[in-house]
Amino acid sequence: MRPTLRLLEDSLIERILDEARTIVGTLGVEIHNPGVLALLGDHGARIDAAGSRAFIPGALIDRALESAPSGFHLYDVLGQETHHFCGDRVHFTPGSAAITVLDGDTGEIRKPHTADYIKYVKVVSGLRHIEAQSTAFIPADVPSRVSDSYRLYLSLLYGEKPVVTGAFTIEAFAIMRDLQLAVRGSETALAEKPLTIFSCCPTSPIKWSDVTSQNVVDCARASIPVEFISMPLTGFMAPVTLVGSIIEHAAETLSGLVISQLANPGAPVLWGGSPAIFDVRYETTPMGAVETMMLDCANSEVGKFLGLPTQGYIQMSDAKQLDAQAGLESTMGATLAALSGINSVSGPGMLDFESCQSLEKLVVDHEVCAMTQRLLAGIEPRDDFPSLPLFEELLREKHLLIAKHTRKHLKAEILVPGPVIDRANHARWVEEGSLTLGARARAEVARLVAAYTPSRLADEAKAELTRRMAAEAKRYGMDRLPAQT
């Protein structure tokens, strides 16, 4: 039996969706993009052009729900399948787009550079239970206009895993698509084997900006999967009740779904989100709050009810260091997410709300990913009935350490964690240097960096990636890309 968490009854989900549909139909959705408004208008939405508002009828929503796929696959740079988002499968992705990194060597929170990014890709390459890269932070040593595409470039050049990313402007989409074409070879090949997922954010309450709505359309037309990242802030930009926030999330996400499916029926999407409560003491958006995590899980239940694959920004912490708070918040998030079957769980590595990536935290979180995957495998009978022969053997031999039954089932039943998790007895722990979690995590990061082997992407494709990126950087005044050391 797969262990499962449910927070909403079906009847409540139905009422939530009824409200969400009423909101987009009668209050309408504010959209600051004439092209997107026209697209909706052409298909029967009532448009108030002066107010930049579209009133989306139920029929359009129904059509979008029909055409949106119930699942999709991702493929690595070599074209091998890595992900199948469907049912209750769970995949983990590092938290994306941090502003800073926590430097493992100095303990300082600072702006990242190219070298940090390459190190990050090397580490993620070695993490078995984190199947995707994300464009985890923004290197500060390139012009800001290319910094969103530059991180995708480095990910595609150094890593093999597919990439969860996003554009910061309308213009950046073109180069971010072209980089993927350099890997795949053609538009058809890219559409057949998606390599990335783009995050696209509505603006609460119930609004789409010019940039993000255009990103949705552009991704859909290129069959690039989109994760909708609605971010209602409970009690601030959304009702203070969790149900009210879930209604707002559903309204915003349904509107995104309609835009994407009108642009290209059948385009792959994730019913995603990064909801948060709002802390009225500190004016912050806590990602480690239990209510934030409840919202993530509940939003995913709504998506699943609609038959869509889901995503959630949930395995994160508000702590500023790799400390107990970082561990407890991220672990609670990962566990709840896995139990509720969120298909794409975003967040590993992230600290400081979602502003800071830490490689050391990433390797710790990776252990949590492994443990939650074990949890999901559940408790299954394996040659356990009848049990008498095994117990007779135990009484006879006085142990089962080398029993056939043990040798057969040890690996599937008992997860062996990585070196970050300390299970030595005290004396041995002292003998091995009394290493703290931080020290063990630093050592593991160093080991992964040393163990990295270059991406097997063809050399011509790598050269083409660099050519395209260099040309883009040049357009924005950078004659040479930073040295990749």
Binding site: I99, K111, S144, T169, T212, V280, Y282, E283
Partner: protein, 210 residues
């Protein structure tokens, strides 16, 4: 004197209707508008600010107090102008070009208004020229810039440079998640604020010529 105290207390409790009524009463009783402002409204807001800093009260309490402040100012404004009482000053505020994040900037704006500043909010995705034009037009003492993206921070420097190029007297304060004190110094901005209450303190200092 008791009336001014009541105004301050009603403001602390966020009772906008009562503040409106009491300020009207004070004005009718002939109290100078400047006294009502400083010893009533601003005194009350000072207490609220201190309680917020000590985490004794939370943001919504401050916003309620700010709303009560506006209710009182509605009555006082024409009289303050007539008496030539100097206002706290004008602040032009906005999220810089390319940046659509405006939640933090909005909070800062609300708190500045609550502290008695005239706030010209230009919204988000604001080009450097618009900041400078608005500051020139309104005679703003301070320009407040917000950025939440690494990619839009650089626009802040463009604004600072433009303010200098145009020879404006307005001082520039910056804020937002990727911004820091060091960055503010780097680009030649006059101050940095890390949250709304801190922004108010810094803007007050700037407006006072610090």
């Amino acid at each position: 004197m008791d009336l001014l105290k009541s105004i301050a207390e009603s403001l602390e409790h966020g009772d906008d209707e009562r503040v409106h009524a009491l300020v009207t009463e004070a004005v009718a009783a002939g109290l100078p508008a400047g006294d009502v402002l400083n010893q009533g409204l601003i005194a009350g807001m000072g207490v609220v600010g201190e309680q917020f800093r000590l985490r004794e009260i939370f943001l919504p309490d401050v916003l309620l107090a700010a709303r009560a402040m506006y209710a009182g100012l509605d009555v006082l404004k024409p009289l303050l102008a007539r008496d030539g009482v100097p206002t706290a000053g004008t602040v032009v505020i906005g999220s810089v070009q390319g940046d659509l994040h405006d939640i933090g900037k909005n909070l800062v704006g609300i708190m500045l208004k609550g502290a008695g500043f005239e706030v010209v909010d230009l919204g988000n995705d604001v080009a450097p020229e618009r900041f400078v034009d608005a500051a020139a037009r309104s005679g703003a003492a301070v320009i407040g810039l917000s950025a939440l993206l690494t990619t839009t921070m650089s626009v802040m420097k463009d604004v600072v440079d433009l303010v200098k190029a145009r020879g404006l007297k307005a001082r520039v304060i910056v804020g937002g998640a990727p911004v820091s004190e060091a960055f503010a110094k780097d680009i030649g901005a006059d101050a940095y604020g890390f949250d709304a209450a801190n922004a108010v303190d810094r803007v007050k200092a700037l407006a006072a010529g610090a």
